[in-house]
């Protein structure tokens, strides 16, 4: 029996409960970031007017408010500055071990550190100063209405993994 007023029980998509960004070009103007991820590139935007490099990517430059931006690549490798592992009681929609690291992308990087999950990593093996690299994976798709048609929007996201 259909339950009126609780639509997600009928298999509907509820964006307020979506862990992942809505990445499609119909929904946001920085979809190039995700297109680049699919090619294994970790990117952000740089201002053509003043040269400011900012992360995450923008539609305007946060320094001079120019909207003439270009895409640049960020380092795909970094070094673990600090690491935390959660083996039990991990938040719903993650599997243990949930390993998060504060990763140093190096002095040359426009963004010095990123917080990232570290996946493909055995428990209790990752240490300070270990080298890690970008890894891209598929995440669940969601429906999106385009004119009269509903299609499934495919998505990717990123984490880091130990450099073997």
């Amino acid at each position: 029996m259909a339950v009126s007023g609780i639509p997600f029980l009928e298999g509907r998509y509820s964006p307020t409960f979506d862990l992942w960004p809505i990445e499609t070009k119909e929904f946001n103007r920085i979809h190039t970031f995700y297109d680049n991820l699919r090619e294994g590139k970790f990117t952000t935007t740089k201002c053509r007017q003043c040269g400011r490099e900012s992360y995450p990517p923008r539609v305007i430059c946060p320094e001079c408010y120019s909207d003439e931006l270009e895409w640049i690549e960020l380092p795909r490798k970094g070094k673990v500055e600090a690491v935390v592992e959660k083996l039990g009681g991990v938040p719903i929609c993650f599997e243990p071990p949930l390993i998060d690291a504060w990763i140093d992308l190096g002095e040359e990087s426009p963004v010095r550190h990123v917080l990232s999950r570290v996946i493909n990593c055995p428990p209790e093996s990752l240490k300070e100063d270990d080298k890690v690299q970008l890894v891209v994976f598929d995440v669940p798709s969601h429906p999106i209405e385009i004119r009269q048609e509903t299609i499934m929007a495919e998505r990717v996201f990123f984490a880091f993994e130990p450099v073997k």
Partner: protein
């Protein structure tokens, strides 16, 4: 500069914890406690309402909540009726906004009420909902919606750069549980030993269960009024809101403003600005309520607020300086760690405790307290809010 001073006149809170009550039930309980604290005040005298709540739109499915709250509390606001959301600092932000409204002459008597019903029918929901409490598109997918991982990284960095010991930040939990033991409205009334802290369930090493504040249902309310109205409404000595500041230098964790995670320049800046506006320094503060969402956060906040040297927060807490006879009695009602943390109500609870301290009627009274400070951080340490109260008007 406006010629009017803003005062906190009275306040009250309901029982906090896992409550069999909705956000709007608890708001009514807190409002009643607040009005019972000010015998001369009737609902009809209140011309403004600021409702502080972060999760009411998600957990209680109510957006544009202020009119709902006003109606149930019997208020007919004519100067302001709005909701404020700065997550953990929603309540203290609403107090700062009420101060501005009163000082500008736009409002005379404002009720600031915060309420959260976090434990909705299934407990996983609020933990999961924290994906909306930090920068969703960039940090939530990395698993730090629930904040222990982020603060465990912070603790590790503070240990690495300053030599802070596990037992030192554990001491903050013990002291705050001691304060909260005699607070009947708090989430917990128990005391801890260091063995309890060290042997508790690991949440995210080095943080165990008692290093973390709980999520709580709860509500708290205060009245902010002009000095003139405050003196008409209450025979108690007036408590003035002397100054405050709110600083946000980043949102995504990757844009962290410090040299490392144990250094919090945004809090240092908020403290400097708040002290300057209140025309005092940290040495003038007699009692403080700081945002002990985690034991380690209290340690770092004591440093950045200027109560001890940078990097010495661990030994400072371990030596008992935050106890009732220490150099800066801190979280004297139990703090977030013992009272609990219904986000929007927390800053208001802190304001009530400072009010009572400065009027000499607190449960754990600091002798001759004349100046008090409250502090909140929001989210994954993305914003800091400081409010300073005094028993004398600003200089």
């Amino acid at each position: 500069m406006a010629g009017r001073n803003a005062c906190i006149v009275g306040g009250g809170m309901c029982k906090w914890g896992v409550r069999e009550a909705s956000y709007i039930d608890m708001a009514q309980e807190a409002a009643k406690e607040c009005l019972d604290d000010i015998p001369g005040l009737k609902p009809g005298y209140i011309d403004g309402l600021l409702f502080a709540s972060a999760f009411v739109g998600r957990r209680s499915v109510q957006i544009n909540t202020a009119p709902v709250v006003a109606e149930r509390l019997g208020l007919n606001p004519t100067s302001i009726c709005a909701r404020v959301d700065v997550l953990c600092a929603s309540g203290s932000t609403a107090i700062l906004l009420a101060k501005g409204l009163v000082e500008s002459g736009m409002s005379d008597v404002v009720m600031v009420v915060g309420s959260e019903k976090l434990y909705t029918p299934e407990r996983w929901q609020v933990q999961y909902d924290e994906i909306a409490a930090i920068d969703h598109d960039w940090d939530s997918p990395q698993g730090i919606g629930p904040p222990p991982i982020w603060f465990a990284l912070t603790a590790k960095e503070h240990m690495k750069y300053y030599g802070t010991k596990r037992e030192q930040f554990g001491t903050a939990s013990i002291i705050n549980y001691d304060y909260g033991f005699s607070n009947p409205n708090g989430h917990f009334q128990r005391q801890l030993t260091m063995d309890d802290v060290l042997n508790a369930t690991e949440i995210a090493a080095p943080l165990n269960l008692y290093d973390c504040c709980p999520l709580s249902d709860g509500s708290a309310a205060v009245i902010i009024a002009s000095e003139e109205r405050a003196k008409e409404l209450s025979d108690r000595p007036p408590v003035y809101i002397l100054g405050g500041a709110q600083v946000s230098l980043h949102s995504v964790t990757a844009n962290w403003p410090g040299e490392h995670l144990g250094e919090w320049p945004h809090l240092r800046l908020a403290a400097e600005k708040a002290y300057k506006r209140a025309k005092i320094g940290p040495e003038d503060v007699d009692v403080a309520q700081v945002h002990d969402c985690f034991s380690i956060s209290e340690v770092i906040e004591l440093e950045e607020l200027g109560f001890c040297q940078k990097g010495e927060g661990g030994p400072f807490v371990e030596s008992g300086q935050t106890k009732i006879r220490g150099s800066i009695p801190t979280n004297t009602d139990g703090g977030l760690i013992s009272c609990g943390h219904p986000f929007g109500a927390t800053g208001i609870r802190q304001g009530i405790e400072i009010l009572k301290q400065l009027q000499g009627r607190a449960n754990n009274q600091v002798s001759d307290a004349a100046t008090g400070l409250t502090h909140n951080l929001s989210g994954a340490n993305a914003e800091h809010t400081v409010v300073i109260y005094g028993s004398e008007p600003g200089k």
